[in-house]
Assembly symmetry: C2
Amino acid sequence: MRRSVIGGAKRSSHFLLNQAHRSLLSPSPPPLHHHLGSSPSSSATALLLLLRRLSSSSSASSPPPPNMSNPVTVQSINPKVLQCEYAVRGEIVNLAQRLQEELKANPGSLPFDEILYCNIGNPQSLGQLPITFFREVLALCDHPTILDKAETQGLFSADSIERAWQILDQIPGRATGAYSHSQGIKGLRDTIAAGIEARDGFPANPNDIFLTDGASPAVHMMMQLLISSEKDGILCPIPQYPLYSASIALHGGSLIPYYLDEETGWGLEVSELKKQLEEARSKGISVRALVVINPGNPTGQVLAEENQRDIVEFCKKEGLVLLADEVYQENIYAPEKKFHSFKKVARSMGYGDNDLCLVSFQSVSKGYHGECGKRGGYMEITGFSPEVREQIYKVASVNLCSNISGQILASLVMSPPKVGDESYESYSAEKDGILESLARRAKTLEDAFNSLEGITCNKAEGAMYLFPRIRLPEKAIKAAEAAKTAPDLFYCRHLLNATGVVVVPGSGFGQAPGTWHFRCTILPQEDKIPAIVSRLTDFHKSFMDEYRD
Amino acid sequence: MRRSVIGGAKRSSHFLLNQAHRSLLSPSPPPLHHHLGSSPSSSATALLLLLRRLSSSSSASSPPPPNMSNPVTVQSINPKVLQCEYAVRGEIVNLAQRLQEELKANPGSLPFDEILYCNIGNPQSLGQLPITFFREVLALCDHPTILDKAETQGLFSADSIERAWQILDQIPGRATGAYSHSQGIKGLRDTIAAGIEARDGFPANPNDIFLTDGASPAVHMMMQLLISSEKDGILCPIPQYPLYSASIALHGGSLIPYYLDEETGWGLEVSELKKQLEEARSKGISVRALVVINPGNPTGQVLAEENQRDIVEFCKKEGLVLLADEVYQENIYAPEKKFHSFKKVARSMGYGDNDLCLVSFQSVSKGYHGECGKRGGYMEITGFSPEVREQIYKVASVNLCSNISGQILASLVMSPPKVGDESYESYSAEKDGILESLARRAKTLEDAFNSLEGITCNKAEGAMYLFPRIRLPEKAIKAAEAAKTAPDLFYCRHLLNATGVVVVPGSGFGQAPGTWHFRCTILPQEDKIPAIVSRLTDFHKSFMDEYRD
């Protein structure tokens, strides 16, 4: 019964993320799970939604009487918060944290001796080392009084010292402890703009750059700007990175899904975009923007330039803002593939500021550097009117500025050491070592998945993930039903309990109805990969032996 | 005419922040400025609102047809964004930035040779130096490979090296470049909880602490949780720090003002809270929370413990969440005053987790350290049910974590060097030097303001600001009207143009109707204070000479 609800949504159907919310207010609510992601992983939230539905209907029309003993309940909080899901740190990760505590308290009590977090693109948590030059510069900017001490010459590279001076000179009063301009320090934005120009071969304006604490706040800012109500729709890929569904839910908009085609290596078809756009419009939705994640998360596909041109043309023709998630631009593993920014593609088609509203998101958390903890990133916004830009600036100002270390790191990422700099060789060796290793890990894991019964896995051309499809036996699906769990969550939970490997069920990203996947990062260190492969293989065989029809 | 609109709101009237928004959708819109803050400083936004009103009424009921050439206009963005105001970085600051560029391009072209930013609590931008120990630890955590090198002993204090090791050992894999737990690194939360316990004499639970990128995102998170619609109200002091009005506007709630009493040193009367609460409830508003800023911003008052007990009792009785902005807890200048956290006050009354929902906001940006650029802070939430806490955790998870340097700094602020540590003496000297100097600066500026014709200024018992009241001559008010400007903005603009001193008009914080104020930080370095006083005095005299009735 449950399966028919979870898997029953038609591929072409138009999901309203806030459908469940509206259902709370309607006298005869539709099934709880008929919305994006099918929320099978979120039994807790489903319960809360149910509680809300069962609670006094007066809350919709008049303020509830104050509850003196408990002023905040799940029935009384913002339903958009209840609605939002973020599977990357959801139920499976909570279970992993409990197992980790168990391992610490009772070593040897579980069939594995460590938890391997393959749920999240967090390279340094799995042992990847930071790029030395970047950290040298950050340390010197944090404590500039050592810059002219003799010992510093022995501890830091000459070009890191020089770069730190350059950066300090770009900061008014050399005050790395001051709030900066709301968009970020102007000199750092100059550096980033120069880096974008060098990458694309087209001009970039430092005043178009907003530095942010990672890419996530930038995405939220754009959703906040574009979404007024559930009548505003955002076209998102399925599968997608759940920041998008979460942010759209938190801002009360409608996620309009377009499906990537697994058969053609997660191809993005403009005909599919068009179909979904028209269907949404026919339902009275004003579609405001198109999200494209390139390289893809969780899918790993790298778009061809030709395809990108079609997407640009589509956005221009249909009056959509193109929200280009380009945080994996450095993570390309397929030799025949190359990253092209959407701005470069649009400019090379002759389209300028008057033709297309385009936002490019970049982060210091990804790439070869993987500096997740530094929370640096930026968005480059082009094509917006001065009046709208002023509004974006105002919202940025409310939060004052992003953290200065993250700002500095964003400038370093877009302007790393160059040939001739003292650090260039060690920098290049560190960078190439990481990227080459990631490519090898991606291939090994992909091959391993493809060797397993009922699993097929597209190549990771880029990014940090594999998104294998599992064809689960009917018996496993029935067992999941009996456990009141989505089948992919059921599989991932069994995998975690047996191996300590943490992956995220496909339902957290969205997937074509009736298909099941999981996302697995390619980030465990290379010396651990063989053990992971053998654990995954053993687990999968015994799982299939148990549930094979 | 304009004056009657700006000053015409009755003190007891209940301002709906989203009134202007709703007016856009109504056939016969009320005056544009009849909402909190009167938005006189925001002529640009007023214009945009007007544009929106004049635009096609169809946008309210059905999706507008896509505008192919310009998909995003001020008419089509989220009206909550238009609604939001943040005067601390508003029109006056934009003018200051233009003047600064002018000074750079044409030195000597203006009657002053530098811009003095007294608009914002940003100590290090005005020359305050960071606390050495804090920066040593941050630098070592950024680049830990130098920790065991010989030269490091010569460059860094022994206890900073030891502390860095301790912190690294609290981070899984010593990975300062990894995303942390969504609430922040557990070991750092342990340290912060211990610091809170030492401060209050009551237990603190590390699981109640959420580390955030400064206090602002924490405030947004709570507003997001508590506000579902304009039917949800938040009691805020007037004058208030405009983060609160901005955040309430962005989340679509209603700001319920309560007035601080300027006559009694910005006293906070529970009778006033009660009156405003009842008035809001009679209008169908469900009042969810009370914001208290202690020490006060922009008012500088430090609440007496007795007064705090009354506030706690009021929140408990009325079922309100107490949102305690305690970011200035280290900034106390009045010898007879002492900071008491609301948690300590509630616990000392015998109230525990079951009696009161309480959130305390803290930041690394304020205090004696003033590390604004690091974007560190936390909120300690107590009294919420496990189900609601789970929702807060989920929202925190969507943004992954706050920046690790900010997290580390928050732990240092709550656990600075102790007697016997190598850095203790230099740390104490730096801290005391800054706080004593701030107290002197506050007194000098307060006396200067009070010596001026028509200006009265309450004492800054704490925080970083003075909020003098200006009694403007009728002629000045008429001139402001003629210039289509609020009188306080008119004064502040003249002040900036004449002296280079940037202050924020009182209308950005809210003020009793018919009164005019501005906020001026006490942060310029002490050697600059005499020149500032003389420039302010000369300006004020000539302004009064020009406009005296």
